[in-house]
């Protein structure tokens, strides 16, 4: 298992290197750089000033040099300076991480806590009206854009409670965070919940057909024991993988949800940075996202190994 983890870490490094090259190149084939934008928006007309900006930001250096500067800094924890705010990138990113992390954690918790039980119910009561209802509702949930759902929720707030919830301050404690973020978390997590529910259902149906479930029944176990000790564990294996994939997908949902609810997290910040062509910010943010995604994938695979002895004990 240690050997496996080490090999995976090596592959992760290769992947992240690929991401860094790709994002660096992508951002530089754009026509028009930050200097142009600053130049236009500030209404400056002096070409010498523009030259100065280009020089200050290192935009005149060869691409390879710019890249090695960035990666070299990254490895030392120096992420450079934002073009826009002129503050260190790290100072901009760090305070926003806990906000998004809490939101994502809550959303994922909501998705698992609703998706798994409903999926089990739907499978155990296959073809009942409850099953049909859950399947249609989950498909509808998968069809709604999460930002629209967020807008509808806000609308309900305004119409029924007469207030617009404010999300601009970071909550101090987990308790406060739960209270504050439960609504946006549910609206972004609904999609994942529906997906997890559908997968739990189909996986559970598959497992309930297996011989070992019949064996468990032949031992005289109750339906509840058969469902939970024998079937659910096996049914969760594919669900674990999907929870990993959903964590990456969730980030996409967070981008729009943070925008809708005006939450000052890292996901919305990416859009802001992109529209400002703030290269250092964008490339570091993208790297951060990629690191989170590949780490989650690794954790999920390790969790899978812990649950499934067929993979853990493979020689």
């Amino acid at each position: 298992m240690i050997q496996y983890t080490l090999r995976r870490l090596g592959l992760m490094a290769i992947t992240l290197f690929g991401v860094s090259v790709a994002i660096f190149v992508l951002l530089r084939i754009v026509p028009g750089n930050i200097a142009d934008i600053l130049f236009d928006s500030a209404g400056m007309i002096d070409p010498a000033e523009k030259q100065q900006i280009v020089k200050d930001l290192g935009l005149d250096l060869p691409l390879i040099t710019q890249y090695t500067h960035w990666i070299g800094g990254l490895l030392h924890g120096d992420l450079g300076y934002s073009y826009v705010s002129e503050k260190p990138v790290l100072d901009e990113i760090l305070p926003r991480i806990p906000i998004t992390a809490r939101l994502a954690g809550l959303a994922l918790m909501f998705a698992i806590c609703t998706g798994v039980p409903f999926g089990v119910i739907s499978a155990v009561r296959q073809n009942s009206w409850l099953d049909y209802a859950l399947r249609v509702v989950s498909l509808a949930a998968l069809s709604m854009p999460s930002f629209w759902l967020g807008l509808l929720v806000l609308m309900a707030f305004v119409d029924w409670l007469g207030l617009l919830p404010i999300y601009d301050k970071a909550p101090a404690t987990w308790g406060a965070a739960i209270l504050m973020y439960c609504v946006p978390a549910a609206s972004v997590g609904l999609r994942s919940s529906a997906l997890i529910m559908r997968l739990t259902r189909s996986s559970m149906l598959e497992v309930l057909r297996q011989d070992y479930v019949r064996t468990a029944r032949s031992k005289g176990l109750s339906e509840a024991a058969v469902t939970f000790t024998h079937a659910l564990r096996n049914a969760m294996l594919p669900v674990i993988t999907v929870i990993g994939i959903e964590t990456a997908f969730l980030f996409g949902g967070l981008i729009v949800t943070e925008t809708v609810f005006n939450i000052p997290g890292i996901a919305r910040f990416l859009v802001v940075a992109i529209s400002w062509r703030d290269y250092p910010m964008v490339q570091n943010l993208v790297m951060f996202i990629a690191i989170v995604v590949v780490s989650v994938n690794l954790i999920v695979d390790l969790a899978y190994m812990l649950v499934d002895p067929r993979i853990r004990l493979r020689t």
Binding site: L142, S143, P145, L151, D159, S202, A248
Partner: protein, 277 residues
């Protein structure tokens, strides 16, 4: 034909999905005829007009008829979704086929690149690509198509790998059939079913991605009316004063994606029972 009837009776939800899609596609094609007004004509006096017999589902801030804008918006949404799905699935299938069948270093490189691409969430990658290419209709299609490639390539590759071991392929090899011929005659046709299933399943998510991009202001630019941008324009300010601006574009997106999902589910059950539940 009798087959179609048989399946239609067995999968009523799939039929509903197909009907929803057909209605939206026809609306998109005949937008000019169906729309009661011009989607771009402004009318100051009709600004934020609530739903009435003239403006069925209200008018926006500029006094443009919402219904007409939404009908024209169907064109953009469906064009982007179909375009991106076709390009993404086509390229993905080609890569997957080549990677699975050729194997070796080619396969290794394709796998690594797919891994790199999959380490970024779909919307993040689409955002970065649009930012890099600049906003236009074509670029939006490309930005949504590219993130689809690795997923399709992986599924098709896995499919090819399992097909390669099948007896009839072994037999074809044993009688001396060439590699290219085996790939075209025996392997490619058998990957079509999963490919169609996968592409249909992705139709819904491409529509949603386009809507998200446009909502964030990085999708299809003016003057095309797009559902996602209609939502972002009206988002915060008019939630209370003109809720129809928020409700209807979102409803249109949800409906068409719901139709695509229903249809995709039924298609999966029919064409590829192993993937289904």
């Amino acid at each position: 034909m009798t087959d179609a009837l048989y399946y239609a009776r067995r999968y009523p939800l799939g039929v509903i999905g197909a009907l929803i899609l057909i209605v939206f596609v026809l609306t998109a094609i005949f937008a000019g005829v169906v729309a009661p007004m011009d989607p771009l004509t402004t009318n100051a006096r009709a600004s934020l007009a609530p739903p009435s017999h003239i403006y069925w589902i209200g008018a926006d801030m500029m006094g443009r008829d919402m219904l007409s804008r939404m009908i024209h918006g169907a064109r953009i949404s469906l064009a982007v979704a179909l375009g991106a799905t076709c390009i993404g699935s086509g390229l993905g299938a080609m890569l997957g086929l080549a990677s699975g069948y050729l194997g070796g270093w080619f396969d290794l490189i394709v796998q690594r690149i797919a891994e790199i691409m999959q380490s970024l969430p779909l919307l993040v990658m689409a955002l970065v690509i649009t930012a890099s290419l600049g906003p236009s209709l074509t670029n939006t299609i490309i930005a949504i198509a590219i993130p689809l490639i690795p997923n399709v390539a992986r599924v098709i590759r896995a499919n090819v790998l399992s097909l390669r071991e099948l007896n009839y392929v072994e037999a074809a090899r044993a009688i001396g059939m060439g590699r290219t011929r085996i790939a075209l005659v025996h392997i490619f046709p058998n990957t079509l079913a999963p490919l169609i299933v996968l592409a249909t399943a992705q139709l819904g998510s491409t529509i949603l991605t386009e809507a998200s991009l446009s909502f964030l202001g990085l999708g299809v630019p003016e003057p095309y009316p797009s559902w996602g941008r209609m939502l972002s324009e009206s988002a915060a300010e008019y939630i209370h004063s003109a809720p129809w601006l928020v409700i209807f574009p979102g409803l249109a997106i949800s409906m068409v994606v719901f139709g695509a999902n229903l249809f995709g589910d039924a298609l999966r059950d029919i064409l590829d029972p192993r993937q289904g539940d």
